[in-house]
Amino acid sequence: MTKLKKCRDLLQKIIEEIIPCILFCVLFIVFIVQVVMRYVFNNPLTWSLEVTSICYVWIVTLGACYAQRLRSHVSFTMLYDAMPEKKRHFLKMTGNSLIFVLFGLLYIPAIKYIINLKISKTAVLHLPFSVVYSPFIAFLSLILIYLLIEIIEDIKLLLKPEDKEIKPL
């Protein structure tokens, strides 16, 4: 069990932290090189636009998974905050379940669509768009997992019997 957990943690770390962080470094360095090449060596790069755009797409998509794991996506909490605790769990669970079902419906069509993009290629590097857009599949998979975890958490909290407060005599 602990081995499985370690494996999962490592995978999470690689997909959500290490890959996008390295890509951010690449993006950053390519920009600097691009400016230097243009002004110092008078030799503008042709491939930099594409490389940075691809890095960006990957950073955003994987970073969004990271943000979902840390539960730091923006949401509208006014109604939620105004509710008693039990109702909050119910509200959040309903919302998450709705997204879960809809994302579930998107899952297979999205994979098929992205795989089909292998015929169209980027202009300079001739990379198939199925590769460029592939993190979206990781995004859908991870979001589904995280949503499920949150839904189960909320159900558990909902089913937990009311803590009866024992009044001190």
Binding site: F31, T61, V74, P109, Y133, F136
Partner: protein, 427 residues
Amino acid sequence: MSWPLIAALIMFVLMFLLRMPIPLGMISVGIVYFLLKGLNPGILSGQIMSMLYSKYVLIAVPLFIFSATVMNDGKITEYIFKFANGLIGNKKGALGHVNIIASLIFSGMTGSAIADASGLGAMEIDIMRKNGYDEGFSGAITAASATIGPIFPPSIPMVTYAMLSGASVGALFIGGMIPGVLIAVALMVYVGIISRKRNYPAGEKAPLRDFLFFTFKAIPALLTPVILLGGIYTGWMTSTEAGAVAGLYAIVVSFLIYRTLGVKSLWKMIKSTVRQTGIVAMMVGASAAISYIVTRENVASTVAELVLQITQNKYVFLLAVNISFLILGMFINVTTIQLVFIPIILPLVEAFGINLVHFGVVIVLNMMIGLSTPPFGTLLFVTSGVGDIPLKKVIKEIRWPLVGMLAVLFLITYIPDIVMVLPQLLN
């Protein structure tokens, strides 16, 4: 109105009511629409990804987030504060003024109001409390001055607006400078009046030697906006490249000059950048779902016809837009408002012949004011949180700063030259 559109609208409302993470909610709205319309929902994933892939200008967002994260270090903010302190000297209510000036300087390095209020703000509130200022006042002035962050360049909301409208990022940045300074002046007038009324303490005039020392220490930080805007305006760099150069500059300065940065902390900052980028930019990607619906259902032209039936007057239109955005800004996150509503009203802005740069600066200032408008303005919560001040007290004191900011909003809405003079001069 078609059935799929109605269902999508219901889903859109549910996204808010059921506390869904906004980017996931927006994608869900799209899925509902695609399914009911009988379209292949797989296309939606292509729409979202190509929105991210093709909007080159948005790559500036992670770069600005990164340089702000590096610069938002305790030691650097302290130098900025001390420098501002030396500038103000022994005026009455000095710390209130210092709070504003430091925010103005800080906003030249970051594009985010929340970063300003939580980093620099926490320190300012602490010092103000020790010197006998009311906590409500300290919190309110910190929240209000943080508003300057995204008005004065660089600015992430302006980059998003540029992506939506096609207006030049450079022109928007430079157009925000005078309004940013005007907000600072308005707030300083307020601080001046209140300080006399409540007899807030005067500052201490720093000895010239100390002042020179702090100026010297603050200079590298002060140069960030100069490099950024200089790079863009001389045509040397695109705004996105300028973001990268500013990031590099931030690394060099904090590594070599301030010595606040190590390899380990750098990795942590990159991680935080990735997370923040995921939050902001995924919203942009997800908004592709909404804009697909808006385009397919001709929402923009329907709204345009409706508005043009009611009024043909540009000034009435601007007033109506300002009021509706202020109300929206009280409840909904800034990026969400921008992504959903700007594309809908943009055709009208063009029909009325309003300059896109002017409109952009007005709308960004408007939304930033929303951040400090009670009862739900995010900045109020942030300052009350970091300063450990009861929210009620901050809300009570924010009234007059709000009036000042609204006055500036009114001014720049109806006198476009205030915004446009610098961009026109530099073109």
